[in-house]
């Protein structure tokens, strides 16, 4: 996607967010149409903005559930992005599925445990997502089918502050997306 198209999408998302915010408040007081965003990428926000955008092209789907494909999680050791153990088989199964379903898209979401600084953990989570991406590509998936995002330590899967919780939070989630790739 080009920079411009990406910006346009964000504008739309923010407009939707603005109208959602208006809707939420409209029940209490009648209001006129939302303010139009200014030119360029500036958006007329509010003293307390809401970033709860409506779902767009990145809406999630349940994805395949047969056998190993039912597992959408790959776990990692502390400070490591090496895929190992059952993670290897899980990634192989998803690679094979993606190779056979060329229109299907996934988003790889990298996560870390809570230890260490937050932005550095964004880097570690990205490294894990890229590790899974490379393994998928090597085993039959195509680049256009895969996007990555790192949430670092910001979205733990489970609460808790011990090794048991940390082990569950050091992960990559393979998230299937609802909207297919356009046919070639």
């Amino acid at each position: 996607m080009t920079e411009k198209a990406s910006m346009r999408r964000v504008m739309i998302v923010l407009l939707v967010a603005a109208s959602v915010a208006l809707g939420a408040c409209a029940a209490k007081r009648p209001v006129a149409a939302p303010p139009a965003p200014a030119a360029n990428e500036a958006v007329q926000g509010s003293g307390a903005g809401s970033a709860n955008a409506a779902a767009g092209a990145d809406e999630e789907a349940a994805g395949p559930q047969a056998g190993l494909l039912a597992t959408h999680l790959v776990y990692f050791d502390f400070d490591s992005s090496e895929i190992k153990g059952t993670g290897t088989d899980v990634v192989a199964a998803h690679a094979k599925f993606l190779g056979g379903h060329a229109g299907t898209r996934v988003r790889l979401e990298g996560h870390t445990d809570e230890r260490g600084s937050r932005e550095y953990n964004i880097g570690l989570g990205e490294r894990r997502a890229q590790s899974v991406r490379r393994a998928l590509l090597l085993q039959g998936a195509a680049d256009a089918q895969i996007s990555t995002v790192s949430y670092g330590e910001e979205r733990p899967a489970v609460p808790g502050h011990d090794e048991a919780a940390w082990a569950k939070n050091r992960r990559v989630e393979i998230v299937y997306l609802a909207q297919p790739l356009p046919p070639k």
Binding site: E3, M7, R9, V10, V13, A17, A21, L22, A24, C25, K28, R29, V31, A32, P34, P35, N40, E41, A42, V43, Q44, G45, S46, G47, A48, G49, S50, A51, N52, A53, G56, D58, R107, E114, R115, G116, S117, R118, E119, Y120, I122, G123, L124, E126, R127, A129, Q130, R133, S147, T148, V149, S150, Y151, E154, R155, P156, A157, V158, P159, H161
Partner: protein, 446 residues
Amino acid sequence: MRPIPASQLMSGRRRLAGALALIVVGLCAAHNARAALQIEITSGVRDPVPIAIVPFARAVAADGGLDVAEVVQHDLEGSGRFRALPRERMPAAPTRAAEIAAAVWKGAGSDYVVVGRVTAIDNGQLAVDFELLNTLTGARLAAQRFVGAASALRNAAHRVSDVIYQKILGVRGAFATRIAYVAVDGSPPAQHYQLIVADADGANQHLILDSRLPLMSPSWSPDGQWLAYVSFETKHSGVYVQLVRSGERRQVSARAGVNGAPEWSPDGRKLALTLGGSGGNPDIYILELTSQELTRLTDDPAIDTEAVWAPDGHSLYFTSDRAGSAQIYRIAAQSGAHPTRITFGGSYNARPRLSPDGSQLAMVTLDNGAYRIAVQDLASGTVRVLSHGRLDESPSFAPNGATLLYSERDGERGALATVSTDGLTGLRLKAPQGEVCEPAWGPFSP
């Protein structure tokens, strides 16, 4: 009631946002109002300065019930360097220095007495007059007036605290400043994120942004008007800048891969950023905000992130694991520069922040298996570990350089904490519910 604009000062600036935006914001913000952070003093100096802050004469109809002397007492005691005389033990209730019998207050154990008055003046404005008296010498050390709208009375009280702190300790106080932080409610995996701005004492909170997806890394512009931050609202990281007063915001980076760690340059014209690109390798860039021109600073297969500017704007400090573990490096703020490693002690040093005078580097360090806040003297290389938690992170200097604000885990919950750079005083700021993290201390107000 509509919340007071977060940036409202005694000068009484007007909001720029349109009336419609105000209606929307007012309703939504009122709905999202949060209870103030609760302060707990965790350590103080052995011999705090004894001071009496006498209740101010009040303009009862106009002052909205705010007890100015109580705010001042709260500020000074929260610094860990003052001990206030309880009101029930005060020998008298003067409101002017001329009415103070110094010997009587000295007898009650107070080295200093603060008196003052809130009076309604023209145009619905309030005047706060205060005087500071040394009971040992009888000298009047300060007599000052702050004028502003009733809604800015709390800010005036913090300014009174700033003057008292400076007159007695010789360091400019930082009570009339603001902090930004992220509040997280709910249990994983269903969490809810809010970016909040509050007074430095945790009171007077204002919601800046609300999201079901993570918000992180708030950074103040040098003039205190803008916040830069990272939002995942599009299910992808993006860097935004937002005018605190009006809420107007702009997306400044939503490139492929990581968009993170925004940090304003001292001249306010550029942001240091971490960008990952589609290949997923985070490096440091400088984004010129007006021209959108992007300059790449580092190009290394390691994770390079968390850049922060030296106060002179000529160089930046950042975290990199290029030598195998996270350490801090310095690099000149120009394309093609080579980084120099700054930290050598231990296996993990990350998230650098510079003191306002540029002499001290605060960071997160791995200390005996715990993540703690440490300060390295850049001239001598000496490192002091200042915090005592297990998962301390995100250090941020007060604009007077005297205190560090950081986040910690207190039991199950994330809280904010402060420690003075001499390590002697500290306090904890806790939300009544949920977690608070990623604090950023704003600049001095004009």
